[in-house]
């Protein structure tokens, strides 16, 4: 049964993730006054990339990419999708955050292994940015954990019976959403991959198959990140309402990204540590004081 | 000519004898001077408001066996243009740099070295700028034939199609 649930989670991640990415491209296109690609474009892209012959840059590179994908897939398996939980009782937020780091680490390792200076700069930026958004995010989450007194994601979700956490702790919700944008690499926080500056940064040396794998990894990690946000902040949901909320969050993130340019890397960190971090502390303070709606 | 141009020419005349002045239009004047006076004239012009260096270029007068160096100066105050020209020997194409007056001159001079083979004393940076692995005469010299070079290096396409037959088919004169 667990195996089936894991497969269901992964398939959801795959299909919904790629479809929504396609839809995001369509939405972007509409804002930009055009039609955009068909919604299934990303499936084609991934499979095409996988069909091509790629160039490896040594075993660290290969291993890094596999580690990144494996890590993210493993993370995804632990994330509850509404009422679909692959490992009930194991969906502890700390496990998820910890596993998630494996993926990021793998990616960093692989990219630096490619030897391209642009990739190194990109990875450095990605890690810096991580530093930026993780701190306010974790502080905000810590407030939530403290309030609900549980670290199980399902537990956090089930605890929102009367009101969504977002409304209970709006400041924390906003902080988490802003951090989410950073995690997703959406503008204004897509600094690590900025094509115009460092030629897609980490991805610069990724060809064909590796690119396909990376796209998959990207899709899964987006899925993990948004799922966590939906689970923790947007109330109780079953599988279907979960997907609906997921879509809404994703579309809002896309729309914001459509009209904003990107920050410089030091601006990213400055921004995160200035506004969201202080807000997060305020939120924690409120929680500590019991000022929760 | 504008007043300021007239005054400037007067001042030029006071330091340079035999100044050849040619008025091209009301805001454009060409002055021809001897190579050794060019620096003086240019710094005087720069001091008189004609401080914007539009371009440094050269003309290859192959029949006279001379290169004509041309400095075009422009004043933002009255819109006047001075074309300062001097002729140097084509065989020993050498001149002095003006990069201390205008930093950009360094690159104009480098370009002239590449395209005409003129070297500039005081400007040591004479590496090729636009061309890579160049293996012929400096290309803007009049005795360089680009067509010949292109033929030698970059082959043309030869078509083998019977175009007229095809045209007749299109016209309907012939079938297929």
């Amino acid at each position: 049964m667990t195996v089936l649930r894991v497969i269901a989670v992964l398939l959801t991640g795959f299909f919904v993730g790629l479809t929504l990415e396609g839809i995001a491209r369509k939405i972007m296109a509409r804002v930009q006054r055009r039609y955009g690609p068909p919604w299934y474009q990303n499936f084609i892209d991934v499979f095409k990339a996988l069909s091509k012959r790629g160039i490896s840059h040594g075993w660290i590179f290969d291993f890094g990419i596999l580690m990144a994908l494996g890590g993210v897939i493993a993370t995804l398996a632990f994330v509850p999708l509404g009422d679909l939980v692959a490992f009930p009782g194991l969906d502890n937020i700390f496990i998820i955050v910890y596993l998630f780091a494996v993926g990021a680490l793998g990616m960093a390792m692989g990219m630096v292994g490619s030897g391209n200076p642009n990739a190194s700069i990109g990875v450095a930026r990605a890690l810096t940015q991580m530093l930026g958004y993780e701190v306010p995010y974790l502080v905000a989450i810590a407030g939530v954990l403290y309030y609900y007194k549980t670290s199980s994601v399902s537990g956090l979700m089930m605890a929102q019976q009367d009101t969504w956490t977002l409304f209970k702790m709006p400041i924390g919700g906003i902080v988490a959403f802003i951090s989410l944008l950073g995690m997703l690499g959406k503008k204004p926080f897509d600094t690590p991959i900025a094509p115009a500056e460092i030629a897609s940064g980490p991805m610069v040396e990724l060809s064909a198959k590796y690119m396909g794998l990376l796209m998959l990894m990207h899709t899964f990690s987006i899925f993990v990140e948004i799922s966590l946000f939906v689970d923790i902040f947007l109330g109780i949901s079953n599988y279907l309402t979960f997907l609906l909320k997921f879509t809404v969050v994703w579309i809002i993130a896309t729309l914001i990204s459509a009209v904003l340019p990107r920050f410089r890397i030091e601006q990213v960190v400055k921004f995160y540590w200035k506004v969201p971090l202080s807000l997060a502390f305020v939120q924690v303070l409120f929680v500590l004081l019991g000022w929760v709606f | 000519m504008t007043n300021s141009m007239n005054n400037t020419i007067e001042r030029l005349k006071s330091i340079i004898r035999n100044l050849k002045v040619e008025e091209i239009d009301e805001r454009e004047v060409k002055i021809e001077i001897k190579p050794e006076m060019v620096l003086n004239a240019l710094s005087l012009l720069k001091g008189s408001g004609y401080s914007h260096l539009s371009i440094i270029t050269a003309v290859d007068w192959i029949e006279e066996n001379k290169f004509e160096l041309v400095y075009i100066l422009f004043s933002w105050n009255d819109g006047g243009k001075f074309i300062v020209s001097t002729k140097i020997d084509r065989k020993k194409a050498k001149f002095v740099t003006v990069k201390h007056l205008w930093p950009i001159a360094r690159y104009y001079e480098r370009e002239l070295h590449e395209f005409f083979g003129i070297s500039f004393e005081g400007n040591d940076d004479m590496r090729p700028l636009f061309l890579e692995n160049w293996d012929d005469l400096p290309p803007l010299r009049k005795d360089f034939d680009p067509m010949e070079y292109s033929k030698k290096k970059f082959p043309d396409r030869e078509y083998h199609k019977d175009v007229i037959h095809e045209a007749k088919v299109i016209r309907g004169d012939l079938n297929g």
Partner: protein, 616 residues
Amino acid sequence: MKNKTMPDKDFFSPIKAWKFLFKKPVTIKVPYVKREAAERYRGFHINDWNECIGCGTCAKICPTDAIKMVEVDDLPQEYGQKPQRPVIDYGRCSFCAMCVDICTTGSLKMTREYVHISPEPEDFIFAPTEKGIHGIEEVPVGWVRDEASELLELERVEMEMLDGEERVQSFIEYVKGYSKEQAIHEAARCVECALCTDRCPQHMQIPEYIKAIWKDDLNDALKWLLKGDETNNMLGANPFSAVCGRVCTHKCEEACSIGNRGEAIAIRWLKRYIVDNVSDYKKIIEIKPAKKDKKIAIIGSGPAGLSAAYFLSTMGYDVEVFESLSKPGGVMRYGIPSYRLPDEALDKDIAFIQALGVKIHVGISVGKDISLESLKEKYDAVFISTGFSLGRSTKVPGTDHEDVLQALPLLREIRDYLRGEGPKPKIPKSLVVIGGGNVAMDVARSIARLQKVEYGQVDVKVTSLERTFDEMPADMEEIEEGSEEGIEFYPGWGPVRIIIDEEKIKGVELKKCVEVFDENGRFNPKFDEIQKLYLDADMVVEAIGQAPDYSYLPEDLKEQLEFVRGRLVTNEYRQTNIEWLFAGGDIVNGPDIIHGVADGYWAARGIDEYLSKGVK
């Protein structure tokens, strides 16, 4: 006009862009939606093959060298056309439409087609046709030439002439000739298509000398005139450049590609400009051939005879010319009136020929003073170019009257008189000229001048069978200039009889001509006998054509020779059936000077070949 201060930060203003989420995108859904290009679009070419003359101007203006002219073997071979069509390499074309703007006929246009894709590079070269390059029946036409984008100069530089009233008062040459500026301007109009060269019987290198004029290098121009294409047996040389520069029938100008849409280049006047503006040919042109030990006799010093003499002597032969009249030049000296061709011009040409060593024996009439056989004995080859010296008569009643004159003798008489070598011809108070050719015009205009001097007024009438000026064989400009000088024209009338009263001519009775040529194009006039016209005159000149005089040919030779309608039959080298006898000029080809020059040229080459064969 707008706020010049920089806008402040606004957190929410970028969000306004979301409004486009629900608006229709601006995307044009190519390839499902086809967008027509603009009306002036410069797409691929079309070329109307029926209109195109293959002049190759498009290839010359092309800045990318994309257009090549390629032979098309089955196109009609006509004068003023070349059997070639432009082929455009879209691996070069920059779509600038200069070819369209300069096209001499307007056959080349650009379409609004702009899509051409192929993996095969060979698919990018085309000879555009009426259907474009893709064979579409109705190709949407894009960029076409209009008045503003014209790249040719269609109007000729006007030649200054004395006006009719003034020129009729004397025999002074009334065409003034181009000044340097005018000539260079006129020469600049040329596009070097060389259609004129093809059309010229002598294939003169017209584009070359026009180019030399444009470059203001008259010596070079003169070389092209007198030596032609030196690499190709002097093809195109013309020793009578001064003459032809004035009185040539300029068939070249009919072929001129500029003439398709505008006025042809004044090739004749440009030629005249060259010779008028060089002092002495001898100083410029060097001809020092290796002497050949052969002698050639030439009978007749008309254009053909003297040209043959010129070319033969440039080849190194000894040439002697026999002329029955007192001065060399034939029709140029005695036929063409001096207001069109002054003696000085002719003398300039002849002097150069003589300077090459040609001996001209004047006053010797072959057949009378010396026999053809004896010439054959003394010389290695003989060239005859005796021309058409006899007049033709209409043979209507009354033409045997003494005041009914033949054109050629009259013209000769007038010229001798003007030169001060002959008596004053009889000057009629009123004259009727029968005939519509150039000779008729010459007579009419010469007499008009004499009348003006003698009586102060002009009364000359010209009648011809041809019913319109276009049909008349005379040049249009001759007719126009004649009218300006006061000559009246009565086209479309045929003479019935000369009205003679008391031994004196009173006039001519004419009937209406309804048709000159029959269906087969043969001369076969039909008349309307009822419509009559009476013209007053006290003198009538018949100028309806000339005939050759072969009386000098011995009977036995005459039998060997072949004649068609009075003309000798020769091969392309003007060699008759008798191998040592060559012929040219009016008795072979006619009808004008430049044909005579061509005859002289080919005969010279023929003689050269014949004689060098003999050596072998």
